[in-house]
């Protein structure tokens, strides 16, 4: 059978960087084709070329046997290419139907679009309310808008960029059913992911990219997750493993913590109670926007409250500011690497100073001890194998994985009594993720209390001793991880309580 889409010899340069280096990709009709690769492997660049957002420096595209140039997303859509982005390109203040309307010819009236959205969402099991504003919707619902929007174009090829990275297991299962239905209709799907189990379950073929080059084209069902990972990373990826150790007394205790929502789009915390013992990793699972940000802010001291609601090693810290809590031995790694954990335009050394100025002896009589900062910064870099493009680059110049190793490393090396970390490996390559998880396990083994807030259930099941679920600002009772099953946790993340018992 002739290929639906064939890209051959695609080269794309950004200055000196070769993002795509003679990439070949063939997508057959009615095929779910995986595009595998680590962050920075060139997947996004390739996909942007296929969708007309970028032009290739060299190479040719063939669509149904005819050579084509795809000059713009509109041209891509005319050919029959639809795209669902990882970071949704939605307009928060507009309604579902208005968002869909923006991707359709201007002649279609909004009323028609509303009925069409309703029809498609029923036909493919993608429930949506056309008149709701996007900011009111969950991440899963937002993704459905993107899919419905793409489907309205009646595409022959649907490109999905890391679609399950934001979904609960149940939402992901629901998505897979939809994708299988689309395939049965004869549509092709280009499925970008680094979740190997999914790819093996769903995809017919896989093209693996590494550092801008195609390193393999394989049948994912004939491969193991480990062999695919090896192709992606180029080396063996070690699974993080805990060493046996005893847990001690409670270090972090949260009692009856309630907090109003920070803004109209936020979630109020309702009577959150939790304790983390020495030597223990407690995981908090939940879909984004269920109070994680507020909980992190309350724990870190970005928002202060009643002194008794939070205590560390028996001392009430609820009313203390960030520096006071750090001096008591607490450490924090927020979710957003650039902009929250690190100042993008500051060098790494200055970023080390920012989080350590109160505790690491960097400042004497109001003056910065540059020597101490540099020595500390170099310790972090070598201990966590942070790869960088110069002796002391700006934070924004680092890749996601390297910057994450740095912001986690600068806290862990302080040997904190408590580490609270949000999304420790979000969007981080597999090797860096393994390093970070191992460092968290080792820190707990040395007697610290570690609290991990994450949306990645695989991660939490891999490293957490106990697991709780946050949903609509309420935290479930933490349970030992081995006693939980993923389905039950997934249901709780979706807001269905009391099933795990």
């Amino acid at each position: 059978m002739a290929a639906l889409l064939e890209a051959s010899g695609i080269v794309r340069r950004f200055g000196a960087l070769l993002a795509n280096d003679h990439v070949d990709l063939v997508v057959a009709p009615a095929e779910i084709h995986a595009l595998l690769g680590e962050n920075g492997a060139g997947k996004s660049t390739l996909v942007k070329i296929l969708y007309g957002l970028l032009q290739p420096s060299e190479g040719t595209l063939t669509w149904e046997g005819r050579p084509v140039t795809i000059a713009s997303p509109a041209a891509a859509r005319r050919l029959g290419v639809g795209m669902v982005f990882q970071h949704f390109s939605l307009f928060e203040a507009l309604t579902v139907a208005e968002n869909v309307a923006l991707s359709l010819p201007a002649s279609t009236p909004i009323a028609t679009i509303e009925t069409e959205v309703a029809r498609l969402s029923r036909a493919y099991g993608l429930p949506l309310e056309p008149r709701r504003e996007v900011w009111r919707l969950s991440v899963g619902e937002r993704q459905r808008i993107e899919i419905v929007r793409a489907l309205l174009q009646n595409p022959k090829l649907l490109i999905l960029d890391e679609p399950t990275s934001v979904l609960t297991p149940q939402e992901a299962d629901q998505l897979f059913v939809t994708l299988e239905a689309l395939k049965a209709e004869g549509r092709s799907i280009l499925y970008i992911s680094h979740k190997l189990d999914e790819v093996r379950r769903l995809c017919d073929r896989a093209t693996v990219l590494r550092l801008g080059k195609v390193v393999a084209t394989a049948d994912p069902r004939a491969e193991t997750a480990a062999s695919l990972a090896r192709l992606m990373v180029g080396t063996e990826v070690k699974e993080a493993r805990a060493t046996a150790h005893a847990t001690g007394a409670d270090r972090l205790v949260v009692k009856g913590l309630s907090l109003p929502a920070s803004d109209t789009h936020g979630t109020a915390l309702k009577d959150v109670t939790l304790s983390v013992r020495a030597g223990e990793i407690v995981g908090i699972a939940g879909i984004a926007g269920n109070g994680q940000d507020e909980f992190f802010a309350a724990l870190s001291g970005e928002v202060t409250g009643d002194p008794g609601t939070i205590s560390l090693d028996g001392r009430p810290t609820g009313a203390l500011g960030i520096n006071a809590r750090r001096r008591l031995g607490a450490a924090y790694v927020p979710e957003e690497r650039l902009g929250h954990a690190a100042a993008p335009g500051f060098t790494l050394a200055d970023n080390a100073l920012l989080s350590g100025h109160a505790t690491n002896g960097f400042v004497r009589r109001g003056l910065i001890d540059r020597g101490a900062v540099t020595a500390w910064f170099q310790r972090v870099v070598s201990a966590f194998d942070v790869r960088m493009s110069g002796p002391n680059p700006e934070a924004r110049a680092l890749s996601g994985g390297n910057l994450q190793k740095f912001v986690v490393g600068r806290e862990i090396l302080r040997e904190p009594a408590l580490l609270v970390v949000a999304q420790p490996t979000w969007g981080v390559d597999a090797a860096a993720a393994a390093t970070i998880r191992q460092a968290l396990l080792d820190l707990a083994a040395r007697g610290a209390a570690v609290l991990v807030i994450s949306q990645d259930l695989d991660e939490l099941f891999a490293i957490a001793d106990r697991l709780a679920v946050i949903s609509e600002g309420r935290l479930s009772e933490p349970r030992p991880t081995p006693s939980l099953d993923r389905e039950a946790v997934g249901l709780m993340m979706g807001g269905i309580h009391g099933v795990a018992a």
Binding site: S72, P73, F91, A93, L94, E98, H265
Partner: protein, 305 residues
């Protein structure tokens, strides 16, 4: 004519230029661009409009000249802030300073010249109705234009596809670009519209409100228009309320000065500006954390190569 009626009439003429300029800036800001140069575009519109009207003897040509002058200044802003992605705040402030200078140059020949104010319409019977006659049916044409403009902007933004696209661009230029919309072109057109409105508002001042030219005659009205946009939460019909409220304060302080309540006239003249500050403070307190402004407001858009 009673006192109340006289006050109402002057409030309407004081509010009209504020409303026109505010509606223009509202469209600009809805597209995600913050043009702080309203005052500059307005005063160049006032000078050019008056000069053209004196030279040609035609009020219509004067009005068109005012609109055109505002658009030229807006095009300079667009070239810098959109084309070269210069900082919008700094560019807008520079535009105001430029406009104040250029208007002095254009108007220097015309200081002291006088002409009749834009004629008020006079409908037989209707305009002679007691109380409401003069207020509803005896205004100059631009007053009606300003109200129609408010309805038109509302209709455009919420009822047309082009308006939806414009709001989308102001909400997230990246997403709009990804859908294939030309962000810079849409913003350029919005900025031109804003410039045309500011120029028209300026021309209204020099051709209808006080029919002569004097340097600096806009006296901060461009800034008040900017405040009205925020006050109105970027909603055109609420901008009507805002414009009449601020117009009212401007007029009432004049009447209060005339009565001589023993308050220094300078303090009274400061009243509209104090009201502006007060309103902005109250709004920011009341709406803390609530996303009312277009999300991409003031952020430059630089497309991928």
């Amino acid at each position: 004519m009673g006192m109340t009626e006289a006050i109402l009439l002057t409030i309407i003429t004081a509010a009209t230029p504020l409303l026109i300029a505010a509606l223009g800036e509202l469209v600009v800001e809805r597209s995600g661009v913050l043009n702080l140069g309203v005052e500059g575009m307005m005063i160049v519109g006032a000078a050019s409009g008056f000069a053209a009207a004196i030279l040609t003897g035609s009020t219509v040509i004067g009005i068109l000249a005012g609109i055109g002058a505002g658009m030229i200044l807006a095009a300079i802003f667009a070239a810098l802030a959109l084309g070269l992605a210069a900082n919008q705040v700094a560019t807008g402030l520079a535009l105001t300073i430029l406009g104040l200078g250029v208007s002095g140059l254009i108007g220097s020949e015309f200081v002291g010249a006088r002409r009749d104010a834009l004629a008020k319409i006079d409908l037989p019977w209707l305009s002679d109705l007691p109380v409401v006659g003069k207020i509803l049916f005896g205004q100059d044409p631009l007053v009606y234009v300003s109200v129609l403009l408010a309805v038109g902007v509302w209709w455009f933004l919420w009822k047309t596809r082009a308006g939806l696209v414009l709001r989308a661009v102001g909400e997230s230029h990246g997403a709009a670009h990804a859908l294939g919309y030309s962000v810079l072109k849409i913003r350029f057109l919005a900025v031109l519209f804003g410039g045309g409105c500011a120029g028209l508002a300026g021309a209204y001042l020099s051709l209808a409100y006080t029919p002569f030219w004097s340097p600096g005659m806009t006296a901060g009205r461009g800034w008040i228009a900017l405040a009205i946009v925020v006050f109105a939460s970027w909603l055109p019909l609420r901008a009507v309320i805002g414009a009449y409220l601020f117009g009212g304060v401007t007029v009432l302080q004049l009447h209060a000065q005339a009565r001589g309540w023993g308050i220094p006239s300078q303090a009274m003249s400061a009243l509209p500006y104090l009201a502006t500050i007060l309103v902005l403070v109250l709004i920011s307190v009341r709406r803390r954390g609530d996303a009312q402004a277009p999300a991409a407001l003031g952020t430059p858009f630089v497309p991928d190569r």
